[in-house]
């Protein structure tokens, strides 16, 4: 699509959507959101960018092949699943670490569950972009 307005707007919109998607990813454990929704939003941002500026430029901006992103997500999920083995738990048992926890606040929670959710994010993001880029290039 050859529209200057769309091209300029798309850059900003894509960036905003990406940031928003990551925000959705991290808030997911307590509020609506999560890896799946975050991945969808992120992919939408990049698709907008690809529609406006062409897949070639979108691929260049992404730097990594989308299918590699999906595979990396799967790997992250797998690692989070078996990280619990170090602590002698069954696979997929969540392991939590609260940094700076006090009586009033939980502190910053870090967990294998979060790694798993990031894996889901990357899978959804990578898989959808793989598909859309391939289809757009096909046409």
């Amino acid at each position: 699509m050859n529209s200057l307005i769309l091209r300029v707007a798309a850059r900003y919109l894509a960036a905003i959507l990406l940031v928003f998607s990551i925000y959705m990813l991290f808030r997911g454990h307590n509020e609506p959101g999560g890896g799946f929704i975050g991945g969808l939003i992120g992919a939408t941002g990049f698709i907008l960018y690809a529609v406006a500026c062409g897949t070639k430029e979108a691929r260049a901006t992404l730097m990594v092949e989308p299918q590699s992103i999906a595979m990396a997500g799967l790997a992250a999920a797998l690692i989070s699943a078996f990280a619990s083995a170090i602590f002698g738990d069954a696979p997929f048992t969540g392991q939590w670490l609260f940094i700076g926890a006090t009586d009033e606040s939980k502190g910053i929670p870090l967990s294998t569950v979060l790694v798993f959710d990031i894996g889901v994010y990357l899978v959804v993001f990578g898989a959808i972009l793989t598909l859309v880029f391939a289809m757009e290039e096909e046409i």
Binding site: G34, T44, L131, E138
Partner: protein, 763 residues
């Protein structure tokens, strides 16, 4: 036999390893012999799938030990033999692996005490025999034979599995040893007949009873003779074995007695005729194996001491002489280049050791004293004349089969070696010691058992009878001379008829050939069945897989409407009695109007783009409803997915033609009717679901535990990433696979187009 291999090179390590291993297995089982002969039984079990009652449990008693010794002992000789027979064959390693796996599966089968474990080993023998029969995979004939054996015994095996499961359910256990005390209850159960029919379907196909007999001779025609030999000599007895193993559980009813008697007797006589008719020595032996299998089946029909002793004896008799003779025919084939009975003759001078072994094995097969074959035959007659109602029938059938066997033994074991010298393709030469070891030892064993019947009785037949009848005292004695009695008279009659058949061999065979040509061929019948199946498959493929996407979707949705809607109407589940309050409330009207209008636009629009966009609007309407019911997660996902679907479909649409103008081929009215029906059915299903009592235990559990155990307040996300993370992992794996497959698919078409363009440019 596969040509083009270097015999001088041998097979080295790969050739000898299986021989040593199987000899070790034989020695291992031999150690149990004194214990089993003393009347003990040994059992060992490993848990496998305990929740299903499936164990790897092994039982060593007289029956299984006799089989195990036959399998591992003859297996050792066959492996030794094939190492020489297929010396230097490029794929010998593979062959030895198949053969050895087959042996192990067979051992597992006869030792298994668990019905399910037994079935697994049973199917493993089916698979490994498929690999063995089809070993020469470049020959269409051996491929066909292998497939035929696989399909036939595989189908029988599946029927048997159903029977075994029913048996386990009725008897309350899958362990055969625990089913035996339940025998009376099982026989009285209404499911007894189905169980019997299903299990016998498995055993009859496996042990090639008429009318399933044709696969076995075909399997013998496989060009790798040793595999076929092994199969025939010891291994197709799997079916017979299972009938013997389940004899204490299932026998004793009229239907058991008459089914086994009739199938066994008909198989024995019918295949003896076929056996005498063959020119090919191996084929003749293959058909005579069927005779033995028929006889063994017939002997398992009653539960008398004579019958089971005869079974145990004839089992050993047949295994010894048949394995020896098959190996001998292989030696003859190897040494002369042919197996044609008409071309062979006077080989004794050139192949003295082979001739010696053949004579011993042949005399045992013919049932002459002092061989174990004679004792076996006497016992068969002793059983048939005491068979009550069936006595006349089975005695006559046994006499006919035995006399024919006498003649076949003469044709196979004597004619090639004595008399007039034949014209053979190769100059006859003696086989190597490795090939002769098996036939000579096995043939001598046949003589030794005959001369020392007490030894065979103590070690094999009595423990086997004890295992089948549960009572060692019912076992009969084995002896060469029992005085002048009916059995002796019948034996003499057998020899007389057999001798006459042998003298009149040429005219008899011509007569049989004519009769055989006049009877319909089972093998052709099999082909017709398969062809019919292919035709039916093609016909239904043409109807269901038309290649038209629209028709596929129409079929799928129409099936859904008919199956689900029809069931609801038939079961009277359509109920509008309870009003859905929530949906009637006015605050949902805007969304409903939006959805309905968008649906109408989708259905009537001429432009694909508009239709897709309207479809998206419809999805957004649904998302709004989700929001109003307090499910923001679902609503966000719905919104995003709708957006992406519109984008994806829009991209795909660019390469599609415009919609048809309304005309003759307009499928929209039809589709619209279907769509409305689909909506009605789904609505009724949902209303039905909502009217039922919703089990909220899981919801409550997650609500209670999400925050304390998984440190999250968003239950949906906590379930996804914590409580049911392994499911989510499976789903994202599917997403990745789907994306990569779609990518590969799009790339392939893309590349092919590039290639076409390149070719055009080159031109």
């Amino acid at each position: 036999m596969a040509a083009g291999h270097d015999e001088a090179k041998g097979n080295g390590f790969v050739g000898w390893l299986p021989v040593v291993l199987s000899a070790g297995i034989f020695a291992f089982f031999l150690r149990f012999l004194p214990q089993i002969a003393a009347g003990e039984t040994l059992r060992t079990a490993f848990a496998w799938a305990p929740s299903l009652g499936v164990e790897l449990s092994f039982l060593v008693d007289g029956l299984s030990l006799t089989f195990a010794l036959l399998i591992s002992g003859i297996g050792t000789f066959v492996l030794l033999y094939s190492n020489s027979y297929l010396a230097g064959h490029p794929q010998y390693g593979r062959f030895a692996l198949y053969l050895f796996s087959f042996m192990l599966s067979m051992l597992g089968l006869v030792l298994s005490d668990n019905l399910i474990g037994l079935f697994v080993f049973w199917e493993l023998t089916t698979l490994t025999s498929y690999l063995l029969i089809g070993f020469d995979n470049e020959s269409p004939k051996s491929r066909r034979s292998a497939l035929q054996a696989l399909l036939l015994t595989g189908a029988g095996g599946l029927a048997m599995l159903a029977g075994l499961i029913l048996l386990g359910a009725v008897g309350g256990s899958f362990e055969i040893s625990q089913l035996v005390p339940q025998a009376e209850a099982i026989k009285g159960d209404a499911l007894y007949l189905p169980i019997l029919i299903l299990i016998l379907a498995g055993t009859f196909t496996k042990s090639a009873q008429v009318p399933f007999h044709f696969w076995l001779p075909n399997a013998m025609a496989a060009p790798t003779p040793v595999s076929a030999f092994l199969h025939s000599a010891t291994m197709v007895k799997a079916g017979v074995y299972l009938m013997a193993r389940l004899h204490p559980v299932l026998s004793g009813t009229d239907v058991w007695f008459w089914t086994l008697t009739i199938f066994g007797a008909v198989t024995a006589v019918f295949t003896s005729f076929l056996s005498l008719r063959q020119d090919d020595l191996k084929q003749a032996l293959a058909y005579s194996t069927l005779m033995a299998l028929g006889t063994l089946t017939m002997l398992l029909a009653p539960s008398s001491g004579y019958a089971i002793t005869a079974f145990a004896t004839f089992l050993v008799v047949h295994s010894l002489y048949k394995a020896a003779l098959f190996l001998i025919v292989g030696c003859v084939d190897h040494g002369t280049g042919t197996r044609d009975a008409d071309l062979l003759g006077g080989l004794a001078r050139a192949m003295p050791f082979t001739a010696f072994a053949a004579a011993l094995a042949g005399l045992s097969m013919a049932g002459l004293p002092p061989f174990i074959g004679y004792i076996g035959k006497e016992l068969i007659y002793a059983n048939t004349i005491t068979a009550g109602d069936a006595a006349t029938f089975v005695t006559f059938m046994a006499l006919a089969a035995n006399a024919l066997m006498f003649a076949v033994a003469g044709v196979v074991a004597l004619r090639p070696f004595w008399g007039k010298k034949g014209e053979t393709p190769l100059k006859p030469h003696e086989a190597s010691w490795a090939m002769l070891a098996g036939p000579i030892v096995l043939a001598l064993l046949g003589l030794a058992f005959g001369l020392m019947p007490l030894w065979a009785e103590v070690n094999f037949t009595t423990p086997t009878v004890a295992a089948i009848l549960g009572d060692a005292s019912k076992a009969k004695h084995l002896h060469l001379w029992a005085g002048v009695n009916t059995e002796l008279m019948l034996s003499l009659a057998t020899f007389a008829i057999g001798f006459i058949l042998l003298l009149a061999y040429t005219p008899v065979r011509r007569l049989l050939e004519r009769a055989d040509a006049a009877t319909p061929s089972f093998d052709n019948g099999w082909d017709n069945i398969l062809n019919g199946l292919y035709k039916a498959a093609k016909w239904q493929t043409r109807i269901l897989q038309s290649g038209n996407l629209q028709r596929y979707l129409f079929t799928i949705f129409a099936t859904f409407v008919i199956a689900v809607g029809g069931t609801m109407i038939l079961k009277g589940a359509v109920n509008l009695g309870v009003a859905i309050d929530e949906a009637n409330s006015p605050r949902h009207w805007p969304e409903l109007v939006l959805i309905i209008v968008a649906a109408l636009v989708t259905a009537t629009s001429r432009s694909r783009m508009l239709a897709v966009a309207a479809l998206g609007v419809q999805g957004i309407g649904v998302a709004l409803i989700f929001i109003s019911f307090g499910a923001p997660d679902v609503a966000i996902t719905q919104l995003l997915v709708e957006t992406l679907v519109v984008v994806l479909v829009a991209v795909a649409m660019l390469s599609l033609p415009f919609l048809d103008e309304r005309g003759k081929n307009d499928h929209r009215p039809k589709d619209m009717v279907l769509a409305v029906l689909m909506g009605v059915v789904v609505s009724f299903v949902l209303i039905g679901v909502l009217q039922g009592h919703l089990d909220l235990r899981l919801t409550e559990y997650f609500e209670k535990t999400a925050a304390p155990e998984a440190f999250g307040r968003n239950i949906v996300n906590v379930i996804l990433v914590d409580f049911r993370a392994i499911d989510t992992f499976g789903e994202i794996a599917v997403i990745v696979v789907a994306a990569l497959s779609a990518y590969a698919l799009l790339r392939t078409t893309d590349n092919s187009r590039d290639r076409d363009e390149e070719e055009e440019e080159l031109q």
